[in-house]
């Protein structure tokens, strides 16, 4: 049976935590490295060097709903996503990859990275099924933890982004007045 939402879950000091209070880039990097070693290959390396993502990218993501609510998004170029898929499929990789294969593999990587990020965040929380496509937009730039790496020379980004807009909103006239009551 579900326990009622008494506000306890999210009352941590009367404010909504942003992700930077809960997890850091080093942890996200470390999670990604563990996932790559296990799923992509023992000798795989993720260099913590930002690169410019190509124009044609694909993203996969899972949502986390709990004391912190948001999304763990992986983004990389289409070729790179195909490479990841082949690595995961191993001997089962067909000559021609289907969109379904990439959605499955890239989605599963998001699932495992996301699941481990979720485990590092305060609970209880729930994880959604993975989705693949155009990355969900960043809702609040202050609620964002992003790691950019190079995998086999290709840029890949892991973004842990909050789904709730920044407070206060909507900006009321009171909050945009300076001390003399002059509108800014």
């Amino acid at each position: 049976m579900s326990t009622p939402d008494t506000g306890e879950r999210r009352r941590s000091s009367d404010h909504r935590p942003v992700i930077t209070e809960l997890i850091d880039e080093a942890t996200v990097q470390s999670i990604a490295e563990d996932v790559w070693t296990a799923l992509v290959g023992e000798d795989e390396i993720l260099l913590p060097i930002p690169g410019e993502l190509p124009a044609d990218v694909v993203s996969s993501w899972v949502d986390v709903v709990g004391p912190w609510t948001g999304t763990v998004v992986l983004t990389t170029g289409r070729e790179s996503a195909a490479g990841l898929t082949r690595a995961l499929l191993g001997d089962h990789a067909p000559a021609e990859l289907e969109d379904d294969d990439v959605a499955d593999a890239f989605g599963e990587i998001a699932n495992v990275v996301g699941g481990n990020v979720k485990a590092a965040l305060p609970g209880p929380s729930a994880l959604s099924l993975p989705d693949v496509g155009d990355a969900p937009a960043v809702r609040n730039p202050a609620d964002l933890c992003r790691v950019d790496v190079l995998w086999r020379g290709e840029p890949l980004s892991i973004s842990v982004q909050g789904a709730l807009p920044a407070l206060p909103f909507p900006p009321s006239t009171e909050t945009t007045l300076n001390q003399n009551g002059v509108s800014l």
Partner: protein, 120 residues
């Protein structure tokens, strides 16, 4: 022995099967299911000796499948293989009647650790 592997990701089912083999359990029949509902029906029709299941799946989650199995009186050993390995998930799994929870990403050693008692 017959092992039922349930995961909505085909690639992950392959990885689980591959890892079973790498861990030395290559002498068993494997049956696959792609969601909780499929798994539940195959528990009936295939009579596996062990179920290895993902947690989050469409149609019916692995957790719901386990609950349905135990409510129906099935004592088939069940272990989760899931991306969520927190203490609270492990507790939830154990309370519902799972024997173990293997967190992804896993290694063949993790598999041996949890399965050595059960599989030859």
């Amino acid at each position: 022995m017959k092992i039922l592997v349930a995961d909505d990701s085909r690639v992950m089912r392959q990885i689980v099967i591959r890892t079973l083999r790498q861990a030395g359990y290559d002498d068993h029949d494997i049956v696959e299911a792609e969601d909780g509902a499929d798994a539940l029906s195959k528990v009936s029709s295939e009579q596996p000796d062990l179920v290895l299941s993902d947690w989050n799946m469409p149609n019916m989650t692995g957790f719901e499948c386990l609950q349905a199995m135990r409510s129906a009186g099935s004592v088939v050993p069940f272990g989760f293989v899931t991306s969520e390995g927190s203490p609270e998930m492990r507790e939830k799994a154990a309370s519902a009647g799972a024997m173990f929870l293997i967190a992804k990403p896993f290694t063949e050693d993790t598999f041996r650790e949890h399965l050595d008692g059960m599989l030859a």
